[in-house]
């Protein structure tokens, strides 16, 4: 073997060294033998390596080419000719006049790029002073309602306006020559220009006549004033000067009369922080209303006996003051007898009488608008005896534009004297039904016209349905008070093929060829020249004066203070109504959908009832004892028969309702309306046009109906939850007497709260809010304002029943006391922006965290929807988008090109799967910051006004910088009555509540 040694001297192994032939052979091969054994190439994919690599390269190249193509970012469409004063991205404000009700509040319309997005009060208007109620705020949705009529209809077929004009001119000429009446039915219309339009129309067609129909109006007050004082122009009342206010079934803080004016003036005397001298508020009522909930003394009396109570007070007062009453006003029962008969506790009626006598000239006995003319006359007399007429403000008296009542029209039609009936924004077939015979009479009229925004019950019975402008598209004027004249101007071009009713009527009156949009504009100017400019005694030329008036939206007219004197003889006609033993049924106007006019407005339908918190329905509110006697529970149907009409209504057991009394609200149960309002609730107009029915037959019906409320009905009898809100300090309150004795009475049982972590220091501005519960009446204007400002969707009844309502702000209502005489506490609840926010700790993706200016912020794009934050929030103010509610509610009713125009472009429209909550109106904070930077100064707390604060009629909400010791909000935070809800949790909320004080007598404390 020696010679076979490796010659090279380099070897890898002994075998190689010894020149193993196998090794030597292998050396020439690339691979060992058998390396590919057990491997069948046929089993492999047929794609060769080359092919595979080629494919990969190709796809990489393809991807790379695709990436070099930039995303198209769309186009920037600028104006062709930008109107002066319009800067895209900046809102413009225009003054106009609300047409939600007869009050005619001044509004400021916020428009963005030519579309109105928010309505707020006009600060120059003396009645609403920059505030607007729920209905007014939600009016923006009416403009963008997808159910608006787009074209004129004749017998349900689309026709052109020219055809309508031709028909009308011919028909009216015929009726005028035949001497047949051409009847206009309007609501409470106090527009001087409309009057002029009718006068113009009358020149050509002299048989024209105007009737007046409003389901709920001040007509009884007006006629009572006419009888007693000789003029229907009843005065405004200086509420802030009244030390004692007695409301006899008047829902002054709710939806009656000049609610915004009353709420503001009332709250002035409830301003505990600024040391106001509290007034005392008595409310006499049968059912529980928002006003009753805010009373110092609520006297629960079946509404049948309200007249008796007024007589009792009148007699007692007259006896004390030595006034001899007309014999028909005598009342013999004593106060004690009345109190006993009506189960009135703690001598409240006697206190009321004493208070009235003590505060002569500084008290008001105010009767609800639905009460009879006779009762109004008695109240007028009582106020006169007490010298309370000193509080009347005749300068600002309500104008009297009342025309003939609609009941006269019915008899005229039945006489065959009417050729045409034109309904101007009224719906009498719906809200003047029951035994009125209106619908049957209307059928006999040959020409029936309905001017309307949406289809309604009346338009369905008319052969011509003429779509009108929304008031934000229209010109107009309102003369609501003797010294107040307001204008209305269009803030958007007409969206559809509509005309405003005045313009259409003018077109028929002058029968000119070719209609143009400017027609009524010109007419209004002339009317303004005649009615306002000529009397103004101004040195400005007309054009300037007109533009000034348009800019301000309001003109203050000279008015004389003519004090009317009472005619006591007129009271001789007053008769005491009969009372019956059976059930009493009272019908009130709905707080939010009005007389049914707003039934198609989702925001209003979904705003919870201020007392019961029920949404999307009306019901029969009855006392717990009455429910027990009838053997019914919540949601059971009862059959209510009044005046021969029977309706099934669901029961809602309402603490505080008088026994044998049913309170229900009208405005629901619309049958011909858009998608939203259709078959929501029950139509109680079917009982008739009365507001109070006695001797009503009530039986337990069959079946149940689900009422949906946003708040659990607290069981007052259940010991485990009774008064929980007080025990946990959620509601803290006291009496004025207590507070005077010891201003710190709430602070005595405060605990030192101790934290194991260091608190974060906030430099600069730190945002905080304070809510004065003395002033808050729970009117819900803040809720709607927030909804509009922050693009909050409507979710529908079904989702509300699952607790998925989306409003960022809610008003909690708590009861304490007995079910018969509950004490109601209200509390607006919104995100408290806690310093130690429990929601922030649990968010797994840090979507909610704290900003350096003390805001609990929410980044929607980060949110993955775990809902841990909502679970951990002690205030339950977080809202989760279980759906994209815009496409979920009513078959995507609000998801269309039109309704989107109502959205606020400064706030994200949230989609499904994200959490949201109050942001303290961050968009408004940022706007204020922008201004501060432009003006090169520091941002101040008072620069920001949140949406809820802006809307609050009683100015109960204060917002600002709590780091600034001079700010209003700091004053509230430091106040003796200030407290934080659930502050024992040491979450350090930034919303301070001012405890409510009740102005009861000291011995009641």
């Amino acid at each position: 073997m020696a010679d076979s040694k490796n010659k090279s001297g380099i070897w890898k192994s002994l075998k190689e060294y010894y020149q193993d032939p196998v090794v030597l052979k292998n050396k020439t091969n690339e691979f060992m033998d058998g390396v590919t054994d057990d491997f069948d190439p046929d089993e492999l994919s047929k794609v060769s390596r080359r092919k595979f690599l080629a494919l990969m390269t190709a796809s990489a190249a393809f991807t790379a080419t695709a990436c070099t193509d930039y995303h198209d970012k769309g186009e920037v469409i600028a104006y062709n000719d930008r109107p002066e004063g319009v800067i895209p991205g900046k809102p413009n404000y225009y003054a106009s006049t609300c047409d939600g009700c007869a009050v005619g509040c001044g509004v400021l319309v916020k428009t963005r790029e030519g579309r109105p997005i928010k309505l707020d009060g006009n600060p120059d208007h003396p009645v609403n002073k920059g505030k607007l109620c729920t209905k007014g705020q939600a009016g923006i949705l009416e403009l963008y309602d997808p159910d608006r009529l787009t074209d004129p209809l004749r017998d349900r077929r689309k026709v052109s306006w020219n055809d309508v004009d031709a028909y009308m001119v011919e028909a009216f000429a015929k009726y005028a020559s035949e001497g047949k009446e051409i009847a206009f039915v309007t609501g409470e219309n106090n527009s001087p220009a409309f009057g002029d339009v009718i006068a113009e129309f009358a020149k050509k067609y002299p048989t024209v006549k105007v009737y007046n129909h409003a389901a709920f109006s001040e007509k009884n007050r007006r006629s009572a004033w006419k009888k007693v004082y000789g003029s229907g122009k009843y005065p405004a009342i200086k509420w802030a000067d009244a030390d004692v206010i007695v409301s006899l079934d008047a829902d002054l803080l709710g939806n009656e009369g000049d609610m915004l004016e009353f709420t503001r003036e009332f709250a002035k005397r409830r301003d505990a922080v600024n040391g106001a001298d509290f007034n005392r508020f008595y409310v006499v009522e049968g059912g529980m209303t928002l006003t009753g909930a805010n009373a110092d003394y609520r006297i629960r009396v079946n509404p049948q006996y309200h007249f008796e109570l007024a007589l009792l007070v009148l007699n007692q007062v007259a006896m004390n003051l030595g006034v001899t009453l007309p014999s028909n006003l005598a009342y013999r029962k004593s106060v004690t007898d009345f109190e006993l008969a009506h189960n009135i506790k703690s001598d409240k009626v006697a206190r009321l009488i004493t208070d009235l006598l003590k505060n002569r000239g500084k008290s008001i006995f105010y009767v609800g608008r639905d009460k009879s003319e006779d009762l109004h006359m008695v109240a007028n007399y009582l106020n006169e005896i007490l010298g309370n007429s000193a509080l009347y403000n005749f300068k600002c008296a309500h104008t009297d534009y009342s025309t003939e009542d609609i009941s006269v029209l019915v008899s005229n039609i039945n006489r065959g004297a009417v050729g045409a009936v034109l309904h101007v924004d009224v719906n009498p077939v719906y809200n003047y039904s029951g035994n009125t015979g209106y619908e049957e009479a209307l059928a006999k009229v040959p020409t029936k016209v309905s001017f309307t925004l949406n289809r309604n019950e009346t338009s369905e019975k008319c052969n011509f349905v003429l779509p009108v402008h929304h008031y934000l598209e229209a010109w107009g004027d309102i003369h609501s008070r003797e010294n107040i004249y307001t204008l209305r101007q269009p803030v958007i071009n007409p969206i559809f093929n509509t005309r405003q009713s005045e313009a259409a009527i003018l077109q028929w009156a002058d029968n000119s060829t070719g209609y143009n949009q400017d027609k009524f504009h010109k007419f209004l100017q002339n009317s303004f020249k005649k009615n306002v400019y000529a009397k103004a005694g101004t040195t400005l030329n007309f054009k300037k004066y007109w533009f000034n008036a348009l800019h301000d939206g309001i003109v203050m007219l000279p008015a004389n203070e003519t004090v009317a004197s009472i005619n006591v003889e007129a009271l001789g006609s007053v008769k005491t109504p009969k009372t019956n033993e059976g059930f009493t049924l009272q019908v009130r106007e709905s707080y939010f959908v009005g007389d049914g006019k707003f039934a198609n407005n989702g925001w209003l339908q979904e705003t919870p009832h201020p007392v019961s918190k029920v949404t999307w329905d009306n019901y029969a509110a009855i006392a717990p004892a009455t429910a027990a006697a009838l053997g019914v529970e919540n949601n059971d149907l009862i059959d209510v028969s009044a005046d021969g009409n029977s309706i099934s209504l669901p029961v809602m057991i309402q603490p505080g309702t008088a026994e044998n009394t049913i309170l229900t609200e009208a405005g629901y149960g619309r049958t011909i309306v858009g998608e939203v309002g259709l078959d929501v609730g029950f139509d109680v107009y079917k009982f008739g046009s009365e507001k109070l029915y006695s001797n009503v037959d009530v039986k337990k019906g069959s079946g149940t109906y689900d009422l949906v409320s946003t708040q659990e009905h607290h069981s007052l009898d259940d010991e485990s939850v009774k008064d929980f809100h007080r025990i946990r300090g959620i509601i803290q309150d006291g009496t004025v007497e207590e507070y005077k004795k010891d201003p710190k009475f709430l602070k005595h049982h405060e605990h030192d709260i101790f934290s194991i972590t260091d608190s974060v220091e906030y430099k600069g501005v730190k945002w905080a809010m304070a809510i004065d519960l003395n002033k808050c009446t729970s009117c819900s204007a803040c809720v709607t304002s927030c909804n509009v400002e922050n693009n909050i969707p409507v979710v529908g009844k079904d989702q509300v029943s699952r607790g998925r309502e989306m409003s960022w702000m809610r008003i909690d209502r708590y009861y304490s006391g007995s079910p018969e005489e509950p004490v109601v506490s209200n509390q607006p609840m919104l995100c408290q922006h806690c310093d130690n926010a429990p929601c922030e700790n649990v968010c797994p993706v840090n979507a909610t965290n704290h900003s350096p200016d003390g805001l609990n912020q929410m980044a929607y794009n980060r949110c993955v929807g775990t809902r841990y934050c909502a679970n951990n929030c002690p205030y339950k103010v977080r809202r989760f988008n279980f759906y994209n509610f815009r496409d979920h509610f009513a078959d995507a009713y609000y998801q269309n090109d039109l309704t989107y125009l109502a959205s606020n472009p400064e706030v994200t429209v949230r989609s499904r799967g994200v959490m949201e909550k109050c942001t303290f109106c961050i968009q408004k904070i940022m706007d204020a910051r922008e201004v501060a930077i432009r003006e090169n100064r520091d941002l101040k707390g008072d620069d920001v006004v949140t949406a809820c604060q802006q809307a609050c009629p009683s100015e109960a909400i204060v917002f600002g910088d709590s780091n600034d010791p001079e700010s209003t909000v700091s004053k509230y935070r430091e106040h003796d009555l200030g407290y934080h809800v659930l502050d024992l949790l040491n979450v350090r909320p930034n919303v301070t509540y001012i405890a409510k004080l009740r102005n009861t007598h000291s011995e009641d404390a």
């Binding site: 790379a64 920037v76 062709n80």
Partner: protein
Amino acid sequence: MKKSVLDYALKVRLPLTLFVTIMAFVLTFYVSRTERDGIGYAPDQPIAFSHKLHAGDMEIDCQYCHVGVEKGRHALVPSVNTCMNCHTVARKDKPEIIKLTKYYEEGQPVPWKRIHRVPEYAYFNHSVHVNKGIECESCHGDIAKMEKVEQVKGWTMTACLDCHRDPHAEMPDLVEVNNGPENCFACHR
């Protein structure tokens, strides 16, 4: 041990595929980064407007046309009537100006292609930046030298935050400027 197809798939094919895929992704990610951020995007505009000529050579102030920049959120692309302030007289026989005049006379807006776009969930405000003395160039680049405008900087949240966190590094000339806000609500609401 008997070798199987699975063996091959796991040991050879899978790593290879993964490798190629990841490499392709990483490569594409980095190569396309600028494009995705829009950097270099310079679309053809309906009218070949030259910023170089107007803002550069003729030194017209940016705010003559972009009127909103100090007043609000949007800088604003000028409305056609702004162009016509000059071009009813100036160069009215040039083809591009004839195009412009046609838009004006027909009452049509010019469909300018958008170059700089902030996502709709971010509420950028021009005025708060400009009024603090931040130059247009800091974000838009030297527009006055561009014949055709293109995006030169990234338009990402990182880009915003870089400057908010350390404005002096980005804009050394601007002495009196504080750090910008970094909280969510500063841009998202």
